[in-house]
Amino acid sequence: MTKPAILQVRGLVVHYHTPLGAVKAADNITFSLKPEERLGLVGESGSGKSTMALAILRMIKPPGRIEAGEVWLDGINVMTLSDEQMRQVRLAQIAMIPQGSMNSLNPVMRIRAQLADVWRDHGVTLTKRELGERVSGLLQSVGLRPEVADMYPHELSGGMKQRACIAIAISLRPKVIIADEPTSALDVVVQKQVMQTLARVQKDLGASVIVVGHDMGLVAQFVDRVGIMYAGKLVELSPVREVFTTPLHPYTRMLIASLPSLEQKGTFRGIPGLPPLLRDLPPGCAFHPRCPSASDLCRNSVPLFIEARPDCWVACHRL
C-alpha cells in the first residue's frame, strides 16, 4: 500500500524578470515526495534546482515570481496561504538548510541563543530549564556535544557548523527537510558524517528529505529517488537504482559517463557544448544542441514528462 504523498509539486513555474527578458528558472515541475522518503534533485549550475527549493518554501524574491503551479504540503496548498501563515509553516512543517548556511550562522550569538530564537519566533514559550533540555537533546540528536550550545560559530569546525544548522532546521520537528548543497564546502570524510547525521535525524523524525545538489555520487549513496534537472526542467525522475543502472535520458547517461570512477582508468568523456541560457532557451527540447541522438522532433517540440517505466519518469522523445 503506497502512503499518500507528503509533498506534491504540480506544474511549478518560476520566472525571473530581468530587463533583458524573462529567465525561466523552473518550468512546469511536477513531482511528489512520500513520507520518510529521500529525494535527490540533481543539476548543474543554471539548472534551476536551487530555485525549486526556494519556490517550494515561497521564498522567491522579486524580480523572481512564481508564475504558476501548486505545492501541496500534507493536504494544504501552500500557495494559497497568507504570508503570516506561510511564515508559521516554514520551519514548523517544512524546513530548509540553505546553501552555505554554515556561514550564515550569526557570528555574535551562541548556538543556544540561535536555537532559542527559532522557538520564540514560532510562539513556543519555554522556561529556562525546558530550553536547556531541548537544546541539549537537539544537539545530541545531531551528534554534537552539549557544550556546543555555549559556543560561538567560529569556534566550531565546518562539519559541526553544518550539524548545528541541521539542528536549527529540525528544531520544530518538520515533516519535510530541504537541504540545499548541504556538504559543498566540507571534506569528504566530514561529508559522510554529516549526511549520516541527516539520515539518522530523518529516521527519528519520520520526515522526508529533499537533497538539492550537483554531486551525483552523494545523491547515489544517500537518496531513494533521483530527479535530474536541466535548463529549468525536470528531465528524469526515477528510483536511484534505475537511474544509475539504466538511465533513460541522454543527459543523465552522459552525465554519469563523465564522472570519474575509482574502479578503472578510462577516457575522459565530457558533454560537448554548454548548457543554454535560461532566458534564451532553444526551441523544442532544451538539450537537443548537445544530444547525440537529437532528431527533428527534438528540435521542434518540447518532450512531455511521461512515465516510461513503472515509477520512472522521463522527458525525451527518443525512447
Binding site: E44, S45, S157, G158, G159, D187, V188, V189, V190, Q191, K192, Q193, M195, Q196, H214, D215, M216, G217, L218, V219, A220, Q221, F222, V240, R241, F244, T245, M254, L255, I256, S258, L259, P260, S261, L262, K265, G266, T267, F268, R269, G270, I271, L274, P275
Partner: protein, 356 residues
Amino acid sequence: MTTVLEARHITKVFGGGLFDRNTTVALENFSIAIDSDRPSITAVVGESGSGKTTLARLLLGLVTPTRGQVCYQGQDLRTMGSAAWGAFRRDVQVIFQDPYEVYNPFYRVDHVLTTPVAKFRLASSRVQARALIEDALMAVGLRSEETLGRFPHQLSGGQRQRVMVARALLLKPRVILADEPVSMVDASLRATILACLRNMTVERGISILYITHDLATAYQISQNIVVLYRGSVAEAGDVELVVKNPQHPYTRLLISSIPVASAERTWTTETVAGPASQAVGTAGCRFADRCPSATSPCQQSPPPLFQTDRHRAASCYLYQSASALSVEEMVKVFAEQASNHPWVYPAARPVMSEDR
C-alpha cells in the same frame, strides 16, 4: 635525471609571531622532486588542512619555507638572481582553482594571454604574438574567434579554465602546478579540462603536479599519488596500488568516505575514525588521535615512510617490518611506467636552445 623543481625537507609554520601563540604547522619535512626526463602526472591529494595549497605556494616561490629549501634546477629560490627567476617563471606554470577570480574583470580575457607574451618577449611582432596565442588556444580545444575579445563573465567556467591552461602553455613550461583546476567547474565540463591536462603531458612532455581533494579525478589523471594528512605524507606511490589497496588507515578512511556514483551502496559502513581534534603539535603520528589501530609508539614519534611495495610507501607503524625510507627517497617509489596505463609517455624531451 634532470630535476627541474625540488622541495628539500621543507617545513612551513604559520603564526607564532610576537603576540600570536597559536602556531600551525602547515607542512612538515616534505620532499619531492619533479624531473623533466620522464614527464608524468603526480597527484597530491589531501583535505583542507593537509598542506596541499601551502605546498603549491611554496613550490611557486610565493611563500618561503620556515625550514628547508625549494630549488629550481638545483638552486635555492632565495638565492636566485633575476635572470634565474625569469627562467623559473617560464619553466614552472600554475593553474589556479577559481576560474573567475584569476581574471581582472576590467579587461577582456586576451589580457591574460598577451601579458606573458609581452613580459617574457615571446614574440617580436603583434602578428607573431597573435599566432602564438591562437596555437595555445587550439591546443586546449578553444577557437580564438569564440574566446578572444570576450570578457571573463561571458565565458563559461570550463572555458575560462582552459584559457588559463593555454596561458600556461604559452611559455612552454616544463612543469605545471594545477591547484584544484576542476573543483569549481561543472561535472560535465570537467572531463574536457582533464583530457586537456593529460594531453599536456602526453603530447608536450610537461610534468604536472595535480593538487586536489578529489581522489577520483586524481586517480583518473595521474600515475603517482601522494596522500597528505595535516602536513605529512600518509601514503605515496603508484596510484593504482594506493587507491585499490590502501594501506595507511587515513587513506582507507578517505577512500571509504568517497560517495561512489553507482547503484551499489558503499556508504553503509559506519566511519570508524573519530572526528579530527583541534589539538596542535602532537608528538607522534598526526593521525593517531583518530586511528582505530593506534598503539603507544604511534603517540610518541611520527612514523617514517615504510616501503611496503616496490611502488608504494606508507608512513604507519603497522608496516614497520618493511624498510624505512628517508623523506627525500619518497620519489623512488613512484612508478615510471606501469603496464596497465592506457596511454604511453613519450621519451625524454631534449631541451632545445630555441625553446627558451
